[in-house]
């Protein structure tokens, strides 16, 4: 069942709805989602409206509330500096486009190289003059197609820059909200996966032992594989 907690602050209310498949607080419906900045604004407004009442009770309580209000205001300013709009509307789509372009360029280059190699492979060597021309032309095509490496390298460097940009800002934000002392969720935790689809895909990969290419130090060599098979 969905959980729909109400946030009532200083007479103002906002609703956060959670997805059906999980009661985890990580799953906020996109339709009703409210940002942290909005929550802080509500808190700030409510504290402001309470100020006059509090002043009449106790100056110590008043000063505590004032300190809280200042802290909220300061946190808001720090969050604003993170420029989440810049990340979600600029850097991440740019990185996605760069990677898509790398895939497209490498695929195109691979096909050009393979076509040239296949042409050489099937060329008729009985006509020496034509054979020589065909081989030379196709070798030039292969050299030209290999220029993809330079362009792809530059595109990947830009993606690495984006990851660094995001990493710095997430680390900054995590530090500000004190997330450093909280243990990161593990794959076995109930709320580790964003949604059911992600959980099922991860379980399928684990079940089928799909890990993808390994780093050089983790991968076993063909010789080690041969030894394992011959045991």
């Amino acid at each position: 069942m969905g959980v729909k907690p109400q946030v009532n602050v200083g007479g103002l209310s906002s609703r956060m709805s959670f997805s059906e498949e999980s009661s985890s607080s990580r799953h906020v419906s996109k339709n009703d989602e409210i940002s942290l900045v909005e929550v802080l604004s509500l808190a700030e407004t409510s504290i402001g409206s309470l100020k006059q009442i509090i002043e009449t009770f106790d100056s110590k309580i008043y000063s505590e509330f004032r300190a809280i209000a200042e802290q909220i205001s300061s946190t808001k300013a720090e969050i604003a500096q993170i420029s989440t709009q810049d990340v979600s509307k600029g850097h991440i789509p740019d990185a996605g486009q760069e990677l898509a372009a790398v895939v497209e360029t490498t695929e195109e280059a691979t096909h050009k190289i393979m076509e040239a190699a296949e042409t050489i492979m099937t060329a008729d060597p009985s006509d020496i003059s034509n054979y020589y021309t065909t081989v030379n032309e196709n070798i030039m095509t292969i050299f030209e197609a290999c220029s993809f490496q330079d362009i792809s390298g530059q595109r990947i460097a830009r993606v690495v820059e984006t990851l660094d940009f995001i990493d710095k800002r997430i680390s900054f934000f995590a530090e500000k909200i004190g997330a450093g002392s909280i243990d990161a969720p593990k794959a076995d935790d109930e709320n580790y996966y964003f949604d059911e689809d992600e959980r099922q895909r991860a379980e399928r990969k684990k079940d089928q032992m799909i890990y993808g290419p390994q780093d050089t130090q983790d991968a076993i060599s063909q010789n080690e594989i041969d030894n394992l098979l011959n045991k």
Binding site: E107, T110, H111, M114, A117, E118, M121, Q208, M209, I210, Y211, G212, P213, Q214, D218, A219, I220, S221, Q222, E224, I225, L228, L229
Partner: protein, 127 residues
């Protein structure tokens, strides 16, 4: 090489480029009849329609992985004697042991070269 070069070979991979590479390598090795499939289920259907002398399969494919295809082939009385070579980027000990238990004939880790492919095919048919 004591291999029948006219036997039909089935190459299973979800990347057309890899199929093209393996096709060309097999052609260079002298194989004349090479067919292909894009995942395990397509391969299984083809194997039930035609008798192949050798299957060369990737591991990571959907909806049916190469590992599932291997287990299906080995549990089918009509197909279980077909030589099956896994050609994959999955290079963990766990994968090799699982493939061996499931009855793989040989296992090649990507990236590989023509000499490795030839040696592993030879080894399968020399046994």
């Amino acid at each position: 090489m004591s291999v029948d070069l006219s036997m039909p070979v089935l190459v299973v991979d979800d990347y057309k480029t890899m199929i093209r590479i393996i096709r060309n390598l097999l052609k260079q090795l002298g194989f004349s009849d090479v067919d292909d499939a894009a995942d395990g289920s397509e391969a299984l259907n083809k194997m039930r329609e035609r008798s192949y002398g050798l299957v060369i399969s990737d591991w990571n494919m959907e909806p049916m992985t190469g590992y599932e295809l291997l287990k299906e082939v080995r549990s089918d009385d009509n197909l279980n004697r077909t030589p099956f070579i896994m050609v994959t980027a999955e290079s963990k000990t766990e994968n090799v042991i699982a493939a061996k238990k499931a009855g793989v004939s040989n296992y090649i880790v990507k990236p590989f070269n023509a000499a490795t492919l030839k040696a592993k095919i030879d080894a399968v048919f020399d046994e």
